[in-house]
Amino acid sequence: MSLVTPDIGLIFWMVLVFGLLFFILAKVGLPTVTNMVEKRTDGIRKALKDAQVAEERMHGLAREQKELIDKTRAEQLKMLQEASAEKERIIAEAKVQAGEEASKILSAARAEIALERDNAVRDIRRQVADLSVAIAEKVLRRELDAQGGQQEYAEKLAGELTDSDLNKEV
């Protein structure tokens, strides 16, 4: 029976010691630990949440970056196409211009050549005229010396010169 009869002495000490233990632990020991651990738990929970937000933001950034790269690439392609079209156009234009210029230069050269030739012909004619005058002078001198009829001939020549020859020669 002694096993199931609570002993008053032990009850007294139990209330005293356990009560004291509970009082001290509840005042100074356990709240320190539980509060700190709860604070840490909250901190970790918050850090995890922040990390998630950051990850989402990073994903967003990556997506944005990819979009930007794609857009840039498309633009680059477009620019390249435009540039090559421009090149073709410029080359074609330049060809046309060059052809025009060449034909202009050619025609100018032709005109110059024609002018030069005319000048040369005129020069030759003048020289031929001079030569023929010199030849005629020599012939006349010889005739005049030989025949003596100088006076008659001079008159005859003067008559000829006055009407038609003068007009023709010039």
Binding site: I11, M14, V17, A26, V37
Partner: protein
């Protein structure tokens, strides 16, 4: 930490031997009379006593004699060492009553006419000393743990050493309180629940360790578990909310049940501490009795000769080891169950409609 576990493991391997050693002392005493009284051996081990008996050396007991504190209605206060009454002597009119009489193994006051009365006995017995040692141990452990949290940036840093060992234990009960009591009130009660858990599990473990400072059967003593259960009972019923008392006295039941229900509810409220008391006390007591019985088998077999004795020794030690390990498990389970039920009872008293 590793060293700590090594020491624990070493102590654990010693555990099954110790009852054998203790029983061998008893056996030696008994061998003079060639008969061993198993129930005496067992009951002297699980019961309380005025001295802390450790072993018997050359026929003399090696024990720690504890102070006796008594208040007698006739002669007032008495304080003396239990050494004076250890061998059944009478000292200042007091003696330890022998086994077969009323108040067996307790201190009684002997009147001049030979009649005995029981004085108010506040002696530091084996269980009281064990209670003080275990409480001091818990206090030191928890305060050292708390000091780590105060001296470190514990919001950023993971716990180390003792704090790393204690944090999961403390937080397990703290979280259990949160689950069972609810977000609003749990912080008020979690220190109590953690203290109860640490107290029970420490004393359960100390009870398994057979040598001083372990070996006292505190949680297997009904006075101890009764006080713990009454703490829970008072916390539940003093801080219960309106809803809790309405459920007891004005429950929402058909008219003819209205007078019966309060009786049943009050009875149920009173039975809760009783069930807590008996569950813990009986479990721990039964564990101790089992181990001691298995060890006593060796000494019962002693008179049947060497072969049987040898065989039984091997079987008993193996089975004792098994029971000890089982007891470790039960120590944890009982501490946990007591704490969990306490938290559930407190939670029931704080339910919102």
């Amino acid at each position: 930490m590793k060293r700590f576990f090594c020491i624990c493991l070493l102590l654990l391997t010693l555990v099954p031997c110790a009852p054998a050693i203790a029983a061998s002392a008893a056996g030696k005493e008994a061998s003079d009379t060639s008969e061993i009284n198993v129930s005496d051996v067992i009951f002297s081990h699980i019961g309380d006593s005025y001295e802390w008996h450790m072993w018997t050396w050359k026929g003399h007991p090696v024990a720690i004699y504890l102070p006796v504190i008594l208040y007698s209605k006739t002669s007032g206060w008495h304080v003396f060492s239990s050494k004076h009454i250890a061998e059944g002597e009478t000292y200042e009119g007091f003696r330890i009553q022998s086994d077969e009489l009323k108040y067996s193994n307790k201190l009684v006051e002997v009147a001049p006419d030979g009649s005995v009365t029981r004085p108010l006995d506040l002696s530091i017995t084996k269980n009281v000393l064990s209670l003080m040692i275990s409480s001091l141990l818990i206090l030191v452990i928890v305060l050292l743990t708390a000091r780590w949290y105060r001296t470190h940036d514990s919001e950023k840093k993971a716990p180390e050493g003792l704090a790393a060992f204690m944090e999961p234990v403390i937080m397990m009960i703290h979280e259990m309180a949160r689950e069972n009591i609810g977000e609003e009130d749990y912080k008020k009660y979690s220190p109590y629940l953690i203290t109860v858990f640490l107290f029970i599990i420490t004393n359960n473990f100390l009870g398994i360790i057979p040598i001083f400072p372990g070996g006292a059967n505190l949680t297997g003593n009904i006075a101890c578990t009764l006080v713990l259960a009454l703490f829970t009972f008072f916390i539940v019923n003093l801080f219960g909310n309106k809803e809790y008392y309405r459920e007891i006295f004005l429950p929402d039941v058909p008219g003819f049940l209205k007078p019966i229900m309060p009786v049943i509810e009050v009875f149920s409220a009173l039975m809760k501490p009783v069930s807590l008391t008996v569950r813990l006390f009986a479990n721990m007591l039964a564990g101790h009795i089992q181990i001691l019985s298995v060890m006593c088998l060796i000494f019962i077999m002693a008179k049947y000769g060497g072969l049987l004795l040898g065989g039984m020794t091997i079987v008993s030690v193996a089975f004792g080891l098994f029971l000890d390990v089982l007891e470790l498990l039960i120590s944890f389970i009982q501490a946990f169950v007591f704490t969990m039920l306490s938290s559930i009872y407190i939670g029931l008293a704080h339910q919102k409609e």
